[in-house]
């Protein structure tokens, strides 16, 4: 089970692993952007109570929230090629990275759909009525009244999902993606210093989480700039 613990190796491993941070962030970035798009589309049937579509979206969200990300990853990785095989399209040479991005996008989409729905429904219907009263069109009402307020409400949850998603990327290596974690696994194979590798990885993940958290905090303060003090003080 590995060799004796060597503290200096941690400092040596961190620069090697950080080189692969780009792949981790790439997975994160694309899965969040695609996830937001899926979330927007999936939130519509629930907000406007469109029959059948609403039930389908409910099942989709329930399934994503009901299964571990690793199972979703395996289902996409083994399921998508099988699905495309029916149409005689061969996916066996596609890079595992794309399967990871698709899985995380589908997973984030369900979570974003719930966040968007909650945020939009949280806005008092009196606001919409007031907007119509002063002669705004539905699209103006959405752009100028609903969206800015919904964004403010949804923002802390979006921040949490992004951080959760970053932590989930640490499982992408299970289907053979060479991200930070994947590089860590090869380092373990070549040096047999597993503990040091995992400590180095933890330090990097922790640093990134702190950075993302602070970016979101600054922007959250910006979004709350029109809030009266007693509300933002809570």
């Amino acid at each position: 089970m590995g060799k004796a613990f060597d503290f200096t190796l941690i400092l040596e491993f961190i620069p090697t692993l950080v080189k692969y941070l780009g792949i981790t962030l790439e997975i994160l970035f694309f899965s969040i952007i695609l996830g937001i798009l899926i979330g927007l589309v999936a939130a519509i049937p629930k907000i406007f109570k469109i029959p059948i579509l609403k039930q389908l979206v409910t099942i989709y969200i329930s399934f994503i929230r009901g299964t571990p990300i690793i199972i979703q990853l395996f289902l996409v990785y083994y399921g998508l090629p099988a699905l495309f095989n029916l149409f005689h399209i061969d996916l066996s040479r596609v890079d595992a990275l794309y399967f990871v991005i698709i899985t995380y996008a589908i997973s984030n989409g369900a979570i974003f759909a719930e966040i968007f729905r909650g945020a939009i429904l949280a806005i008092n219907s009196g606001q919409t009525e007031a907007a119509y009263t002063i002669g705004m069109t539905p699209s103006q009402n959405f752009r100028r009244i609903i969206f800015p307020q919904a964004l403010r409400i949804a923002f802390p949850n979006i921040g949490n999902s992004v951080i959760g998603s970053l932590k989930d990327t640490s499982l992408a290596f299970t289907i053979g993606v060479m991200d930070m974690m994947g590089r860590g696994e090869t380092l373990i194979a070549s040096t047999a210093h597993a503990l040091e590798v995992y400590i180095s990885l933890s330090i990097i993940y922790y640093a990134i989480v702190i950075i993302i958290e602070n970016i979101f905090k600054v922007y959250e303060r910006y979004l709350n700039r029109y809030q009266p003090d007693e509300i933002s003080a809570v």
């Binding site: 929230r65 009901g66 199972i71 289902l75």
Partner: protein
Amino acid sequence: MTIDFPFIWTAFKEILKAIPLTLLLTITPLAIGFLIGLLVTWIRIGKARLIRLIANFYVSFFRGTPAIMHIMIIYFGLPILINQLVHYFELPIETNKIPISLFVILALSFTAGAYFSEIIRSGIASVTTGQIEAAYTVGMNTYQVAKRIILPQALAQSIPNITNIVVGFLHTTSIAFLVSQTEITGAANIVASKNLKFLEAFIAAGIIYWLITLMIEMISHFIEKKAKSYISSAL
């Protein structure tokens, strides 16, 4: 490759046997983590600055790193530590005979402790200071205030968060398959590899996780209705 539907059922029955271990790996860390969370919250709202800093760092670090790190660091780190202790004190323990599930439980307990601390803290913050003042006014001491006024309301308020963490930890146990535990994902992986039917096995595993999650959510709704019954009667 086409989907072999009857095999999903075969795999389903095979994977069901892994549920006890999955529940053990879910419930034990949550129970230990709840106690850690209470202790850590007590430290964090207390006045001792140094241990407060340590407690804050613990919560922030465990919430800021993936659970797989906690499992791997304990799995690889603890045996090294125990080995040295065993060597030093000449204890009759063989490190490689310690079941891996114990390492997983220990690691996830620390993870759960950090999450619980945040949940308990926000639950306590939801109890207004007026109530605490009122309790002191009628002559309760600090222990009584905590037991009769703060905790019952804080817990009722925390039920949705606690449900999320229970479901989250059920799903986190799937990582334990990477350290060769035959919980649901591990069992699915074995069934899949034996028959070379990966998709079918993971569909079965997904359904099992989904069903357990739905059951947890149903139980939670029931408890929440009971726990919050005093609120609706007040309105």
